[in-house]
């Protein structure tokens, strides 16, 4: 009799979990993000907080700083007008899409490549940065290009598409997926892997901060970054695309590229300038 009770309890709780899971997907899509943002005069952006040059929280003043932050501010001004405010929420490669889906953020500008798989789940703006995947190794390493990774261990962050690319290009490489890029680098430093892989801009930021490490082999993929927007938010997507075009047209975009990537050794910033 006692056992029967437990089984009933188990089944009831499972059913409860399943019901809750089922009703999570509806409510957000019925709201218009652009309307809400105009009313509050604020766009909430999901940004990276741990990537130098891109999006980094400065420990001294607690402010987010980086190329994507400045770009998000510029686009916000174009969409909402001069007094429009950009609010920033820290996301990781893993948490950004769930946070967008459940409405915590309005848009993702967090080194996210436009990929067919992702397009099934969210919408993308036009590309705002021409990124590609590369490799970071310790200076003096025998690894010279992505082909040398076969049989070696590579660290990366969970939730980034870099892992799939490595599986395709160097099928015999072992990939360790760590919670974020900082940990992937720490794992590389403590010898858990021989190389680290992800987008070149992210690695550039790491190479600037860690003198003993360098990029090798150039980029071996083209993965333009796009701003992530929820499905069914056509108005908001149009407004963002329009804002982005204006930012590129009036020269702000190229100024930002020069500001953040003009002085990174080994990084050809001319490739990413827009006309």
């Amino acid at each position: 009799m006692k056992r029967f009770k437990y089984v009933t309890l188990l089944i009831t709780s499972l059913l409860l979990v399943l019901t809750l899971a089922g009703c999570g997907s509806k409510p957000l899509s019925s709201q218009n993000v652009l309307e809400n943002d105009k009313q509050s005069n604020t766009i909430t952006w999901g940004v990276k907080a741990d990537q130098k040059l891109i999006g980094l929280i400065d420990v001294k003043d607690g402010q987010e700083k980086g190329f994507e932050i400045d770009l998000a501010k510029a686009i916000t001004k174009k969409v909402l007008g001069k007094n429009g405010k950009a609010k920033f929420v820290t996301v990781t490669s893993q948490s950004r899409i769930p946070l967008l889906k459940n409405g915590n953020i309005d848009a993702i500008i967090a080194t996210m490549s436009i990929l067919p798989d992702r397009k099934k789940v969210i919408d993308f703006s036009d590309s705002y940065f021409s990124a590609g995947q590369s490799i970071l190794v310790k200076k003096g390493s025998s690894i010279k290009s992505v082909k040398d990774l076969n049989g070696k261990t590579v660290t990366s962050a969970v939730g980034s598409n870099s892992v799939d690319n490595i599986h395709k290009i160097a099928p015999k490489a072992r990939v360790l997926q760590l919670p974020d890029f900082a940990q992937a680098l720490t794992a590389l430093k403590s010898g858990q892997g021989e190389a680290m892989t992800t987008d070149n801009v992210i690695l550039a930021g790491l190479a600037v901060e860690n003198p003993g490490y360098k990029l090798v082999g150039g980029t071996f993929t083209t993965e333009p970054y796009g701003i992530g927007i929820n499905k069914g938010q056509g108005d908001f997507k149009k407004a963002i695309n329009k804002g982005l075009k204006e930012v590129i047209k009036d020269g702000t975009y190229n100024k930002l590229i020069m500001k953040w990537f003009g002085n990174v050794p080994g990084f050809n910033y001319k490739e990413v300038l827009r006309k």
């Binding site: 899409i97 660290t155 969970v158 360790l176 997926q177 720490t186």
Partner: protein, 212 residues
Amino acid sequence: MIKLLVDNWSEFISGFGWTVLSSIVALFFSLIIGSLFAILEVMPSKVARVIGNVYVEIFRNIPLLVITMFFYLVIPLYVVKINGFTAGTIGLTIYTSAFIAETVRSGINSVDVGQMEASRAQGMTFWQAMRYIVLPQAFKLVIPPLGNQFINLVKNSSVLAFVAGFDLMYQGNAIASTSFQTVNTYIIVGLFYLVITLPISYYMQHLERKLA
């Protein structure tokens, strides 16, 4: 959800396998180490008691993730190279052993002092008295809290995900971030954990009824 499970079956199963392996290894060693330190804590020698206390208080009061990160990142730099799975399992063993030590010690303490005194009066050594008289009674008393520790151990094994230990949680993270079916993935992961923990739960209940 069924499709997600079928599509990623091999990942889920390999993650499940590593979680089970890590749990079994950690359970075995933490039970032995924990019991040893529990005995140290109740020994007549003051030095032994201090050693036991220091071990328990240090590892009981440091977060599991910190212990694991230490073995994953610091030890390879200075001592010997260990991979994520090993580092995670060592961390899990040490952390859980501190809790098991406290649990077993409480069991030993709740056995009447007269039992130990009588055994010693019969000419038994401290270890003989422990082995044949006190410990069998102590373990019977602490079966329910020990079961709690075992279940916690299985759930805590998800720490392996943070050091790329290829366990269930690691695979869950990877699947969730490629399929974007976050909710469904973690429900499946939760069910897989239940497959391990519920039998332990039932077995401990059975043991309790049989022995007590």
